[in-house]
Amino acid sequence: MSCGQYEEWLFLHRPGELSRADLAALEAHLRDCPQCAALKKALASDDRRLARLRAMAPEPPDADAAAGRVLLAIGGRKPVASHSRIRNFLEVILLTFNQPRIRTASAFLSVTLVGALLYQQFSVMSEVSNLEARMALRQDQPGMIHTAFVLDAEAVSRIPRSSEILEALGDRVKADSDRNIIISREAAQSMQETATRTLRFTSRKAGSAVLDARVIEEISRVVQRQASLVFRVSRKGGAG
């Protein structure tokens, strides 16, 4: 008997339509024929798969996606005579966009595009707003010129009555980490007004607002002469 007959018996064997004698002959053949044995194994595997499918719910959890995947898989191979190529193409595109991964990617792309546009727009608005604020500051408010005279503490200590003067200047005087005494522009103005000529000299020589010991001595001479005036101006400033 040929293998073809045994293959037919294998199919009959599955629904139980094979007689006992034929079944014995088939099993004997299967022991000797590896091809028919492989076919039996494949059929048994298909039967198990079908049994699992039967056990499942009628509709898979993501029916749309499953349908999409199946149609996408067969779409390219199965000729559809009634559809035009463009329709086929659109069909494929639509099915592609129906896949969860593509949907997620599309949403990400959309959010990124909108986010980038909004971010850049806000960034420009912020820059313009800063510029407008700067312009308004220039036009509407008096400019603040911050200057401070830095006096060497040791040099200051040599100025007669310096502690009294500095005390009068109050919190407008502070010492930095290098023990320099920093007098605000406002506070130093009292000295500046009374020692104009000296400060001219100091600015020219020192080339900056940082005054050295020699300069302090120059100032001290003037301050000594004008001590009462400085004291008065300072107190007035302090009260203000």
Partner: protein, 363 residues
């Protein structure tokens, strides 16, 4: 400081550097630069006022026959408009390059950068300092704080917080004048001394000239106005004659003659500073798109304006810059199209999928 009064005439042009801003010139010069999206530029210079000053002002700004000129009269004002198109900023830079002692050097730069939905443009224009004579450090006379105060008040129009600050700047102006006198004198003196050494005559020795340096400075200060007028002709004899008069030695003329070219160049530079001084300058720049940043003191729409900056050119280069953004509508369009397509396809895909899903169980 007694000498300061006497040398005032010596630095009269320089003094103008700090106080010219308060004294309007007889000729107003306004430059307008229109920057376009394709990075081509149009530069227009409008001279308005007394016609007598126009030729000199044209030279100062490097306006030549390659510019399109148009003249008209408005009431009593003479108006000359010079304009020129430039394909690139490099072309404009070449036209505004200037030359020492003749015209001011202006260096324009234009950069554009793609930034997704925008294109960022940055235009800057640097007017070079009027001369490069640095024989005496300015910091010996004026502190950085005072210079900063000058810029804040004169250029950025910030008012003085107190009268004391105003007085302090007035004092700085005096010292600036003294520095300017010293600076120019040192430049001439150095050249003259080189001439004396080249001459090598025992009757006029460098040592003896150096001993009388201060006398030379003070004496030249007194008669410098006459000297300043004569040097416009680049006549080195004028300077030689002055040195000869003060040193009481006719050989000074020969020493000056040895360095006639260097003296002529220096004189041209000094004359240029004086030529530049009498005019009021205004620079306007029109940018494409929305202006987002600038160091200009005023903005009107997409036009920024700098004015009264000429005083700064006696001390330093003056940099004017502005940034703007132009919307890339094509990029916005592509993004919008992409959004619409993606959204439509996603919705259609879902609808289609559901349709198939309903059919599949029955089949």
């Amino acid at each position: 400081m007694n000498g300061g009064m006497r040398v005032r005439s010596f630095g009269v042009a320089a003094l103008a550097g700090l106080i010219i801003v308060a004294a309007p010139g007889c000729l107003e010069i306004e430059t307008k630069t229109h920057v376009r999206r394709d990075e081509s530029l149009n530069r227009t210079v409008v001279f308005s006022g007394d016609s007598a000053g126009v030729p000199g002002a044209c030279i100062v700004l490097g306006i030549d026959s390659s510019w399109a000129l148009e003249t008209r009269r408005e009431e009593r004002k003479y108006i000359l408009t010079a304009s020129r198109e430039f394909a690139t900023v490099q072309d404009m830079a070449r036209a505004l390059r200037g030359s020492p002692g003749k015209s001011v050097t202006i260096t324009p730069r234009l950069e554009s950068r793609f930034d997704w939905f925008f294109t960022i443009y940055r235009y800057s224009e640097t007017w070079s300092r009027l001369h490069q004579i640095n024989e005496v450090p300015l910091s010996d006379y004026v502190s950085p704080g005072e210079i900063d105060m000058f810029f804040r008040h004169e250029l950025r129009k910030e008012p003085f917080p107190t009268k004391g600050d105003s007085l302090a700047l007035a004092d700085a102006e005096d010292r600036y004048t003294e520095w300017d006198s010293r600076n120019w004198f040192e430049a001439y003196y150095k050249i003259f001394l080189k001439g004396v050494r080249e001459l090598g005559d025992p009757a006029l020795q460098a040592d003896s000239v150096e001993r009388r340096k201060d006398v030379l400075f003070r004496s030249l200060g007194e008669d410098f106005s006459a000297f300043a007028d004569s040097k416009k002709s680049s006549d080195f004899n004028a300077m030689g004659a002055e040195f000869a008069r003060v040193l009481k030695n006719p050989l000074a003329l020969e020493a000056a003659a040895k360095e006639s070219d260097a003296i002529a160049l220096l004189a041209r530079q000094q004359a240029f500073v004086e030529d530049f001084a009498p005019f009021g300058y205004k620079v306007r720049t029109e940018m494409p798109g929305l202006i987002t940043n600038t160091n200009a003191p005023s903005i009107n729409g997409n036009i920024v304006t700098w004015e009264d900056f000429e005083g700064a050119l006696y001390i330093t280069d003056f940099d004017m810059w502005v940034e703007s953004r132009v919307v890339n509508w094509w990029a916005v369009g592509i993004a919008a199209l992409l959004l619409v397509i993606v959204t439509a396809l996603s919705i259609a895909g879902i609808v289609r999928g559901r349709g198939r899903g309903r059919i599949s169980p029955s089949t």
